[in-house]
Symmetry: C2
Subunit: 395 residues, 2 copies
């Protein structure tokens, strides 16, 4: 067989893929998923919507439509973005195949082999997977409880050639749950302008805030529009519809749409019709508000149970929203090995070891843990067992 393209070297099976298949085993308690809680999906409303869309006089719901997305869905997304402080029209919005496709298209548009993408440290694993086929180099910038350390970022930008993108998940980041402060957001925008780089702002968890005040998006703070802003229906409606969006300047948006046309022609027409019917005919803000207490309770239970049962020397983030907490263990503990040798066989618990979330210089003594969708009793039992095994391991 003829040789693969060079980019194929950057496309490797994830180390976490193997044990993620365990997540569907009913004997396993999984804190590994990044999945929203399926009991919160608006199934009844979608039942009615699909039934009303699929009628003989409405076969166009099953036909091709525009690559940029269904016009009415673009308009409804634009209205929500405008309400969130990002004035825009339907023309400015591209509908994507979930948030992931926004990452893929943006990397394709800006990143040549050897160009540099700057990420948070740690960063969303799926973004690295999306960027890798463009063969970037990576630099990563430390975070603290205010999100990406923009002073450290400036040092990277000052000393690094060919930086094209700074990638950030400013709200309840995956994997850390951290939120970038307003001062850091402003600083990031200043730096993007000074060093002429694009910001890729990824906001899949933005609507899931359980406490504290909503902050303006980075796109909102940027007068010169150096931001590609991505969002997703996966956490506010349902991931199985694969719907997200990108907001960008007309020049960038048009190129992203052409790359989308090249990649998959368009999103599914029926699902776009359904999302438009949902946004147009139901109170999505009320739906989101109804989910918040459920996730807030799950987060609170996870953090309280870890505080009660985990041994000393372990710390974790307190996410104001989203689905994740990031747990840091004593430096000697390799979470991948601990999971494989102890956590799975002895407690039937899975987490995501932190290593793959680092774009460079990985650290092994962290884990991403999701509190979403785990029943209370399972969560408490799983965390208690994990705490006991950790106490043994850490002596």
């Amino acid at each position: 067989m003829t040789a693969f393209a060079r980019r194929a070297e950057r496309v490797q099976p994830s180390a976490i893929r193997e044990f993620l298949s365990l997540a569907t085993d009913p004997r396993i308690t999984s804190f590994a998923g990044g999945y929203p809680d399926p009991t919160l999906f608006p199934v009844e409303e979608l039942h009615e919507i699909y039934a009303s869309l699929l009628t003989a006089d409405n076969a166009s719901a099953l036909q091709y439509t525009a690559s940029e997305g269904l016009p009415e869905l673009r308009a409804l997304v634009a209205a929500r973005l405008t309400a969130d402080g990002m004035p825009c029209t339907a023309d400015d919005v591209l509908i994507t195949q979930g948030g992931q496709q926004g990452l893929d298209l943006t990397a394709k548009l800006f990143v040549d082999a050897g160009d540099v993408v700057v990420t948070e440290r740690p960063t969303f694993l799926g973004a690295l997977i999306a960027f890798n086929p463009c063969e970037p180099s990576y630099r990563s910038v430390p975070m603290d409880d205010e999100g990406m350390d923009t002073v450290a970022l400036e040092e990277v930008l000052r000393t690094t050639d060919r930086v094209k993108l700074v990638y950030t998940v400013p709200d309840f980041q995956n994997p850390t749950g951290r939120t970038m402060s307003l001062a850091r957001r402003r600083h990031l925008v200043e730096l993007a302008e000074r060093y002429d780089v694009m910001i890729l702002e990824d906001t899949p968890y933005r609507e899931l805030r359980y406490e504290g005040e909503r902050l303006p998006t980075i796109r909102n703070l940027d007068p010169n529009n150096l931001v590609v802003h991505l969002g997703s229906f996966s956490k506010i409606l349902a991931p199985g519809l694969r719907l997200g969006w990108a907001l960008a300047t007309p020049e960038v948006r048009e190129k992203l749409a052409l790359l989308k046309l090249a990649a998959d022609t368009q999103n599914g027409t029926l699902n776009m019709r359904a999302a438009a019917a949902y946004l147009g005919g139901h109170d999505v803000e009320a739906h989101i508000a109804s989910m918040l207490p459920v996730y807030r309770h799950q987060r609170d239970l996870m953090l309280a149970t870890m505080a009660e049962h985990f041994p000393p020397g372990i710390s974790w983030t307190r996410a104001e929203g989203g689905l994740f907490t990031w747990v840091t263990f004593p430096e000697g503990l390799d979470l991948a090995a601990f999971q494989r040798d102890v956590l799975i066989p002895r407690a039937g618990v899975i987490i995501v070891p932190g290593t793959p979330f680092f774009a460079e210089r990985p650290e092994a003594h962290h884990a991403r843990m999701s509190f979403s969708g785990v029943p209370d009793d399972r969560m408490v039992a799983g965390l208690r067992a994990m705490g006991s095994l950790l106490a043994d391991a850490l002596g």
Copy 2:
């Protein structure tokens, strides 16, 4: 703003995009679409299926699932491919976001910048759009009524470095409607082995045969598995679901799945469930059989009406299936100009000028015309008006 990546230069708006927006104007008679006839979609069956999938105890239909696709859908596709002479299992099949994504993923896997992709002459425009971001060079091989001229192909393979892929639509090709003969299929497989290149076999129209005998797929003829075989639900079920498949060796299939994960995580779960329910619970072969007389009639009417009303000096292909005929005009006639200046303003008719279907050395005196979905009276009136204008233009 920071510069775009180099590949962005290869991503340009299509010249045909502008007038394709006319296709939704009710005053326009469009032979330009490549759309299946929406009156043939199984809307009632899908109505029932979506209603039964969207129930409170089945929220997993809206949840994430595997990147490779829903296991039951992969198995059902594998069973159909096996019945079509390509023995395989669910593991060999990757579900794609329509046929277009299969083109995108295969190019990404094999094509570095400057590598050569060989296409038919003319070839499917959407494939060029998919391949272009990988920055290939192109060689194109003439066709006749037996499809790609494989003697000419051998000359290209013998004299050209870095050929990675030979792309073909062997059944009722888009845009010509031509079918590759069995002898040519065998020769193509021999050449792929001799010159160590991959064959990308794209079969979106394969099921729509109106006359003549079904031929084995190229994948079926290839003992050494140098074929990536693509198919699509767009013409047998509905394009608005965006479902297709790729069949390849385990090594290739796994890399394609990783590239799919990078690009968009997965296909929509709900749509995959629906397609699996349709294939599992309904007689798709009977559904396909029921569509054939409709398209056959539309094809026959188009060809007969052109024979009656078009002036001498114009020829066209007789497709044994699919949606298209390829019309060749006297060499001096530029169909893009003729359409813009005469056909649209004076007859309200649109076709697709042939130029963008050439990977290199475009020819302007052809058009792709689709017979799908145009009501009989509109078709006859449109072709009659077009014939009259052609007679004027050609003196």
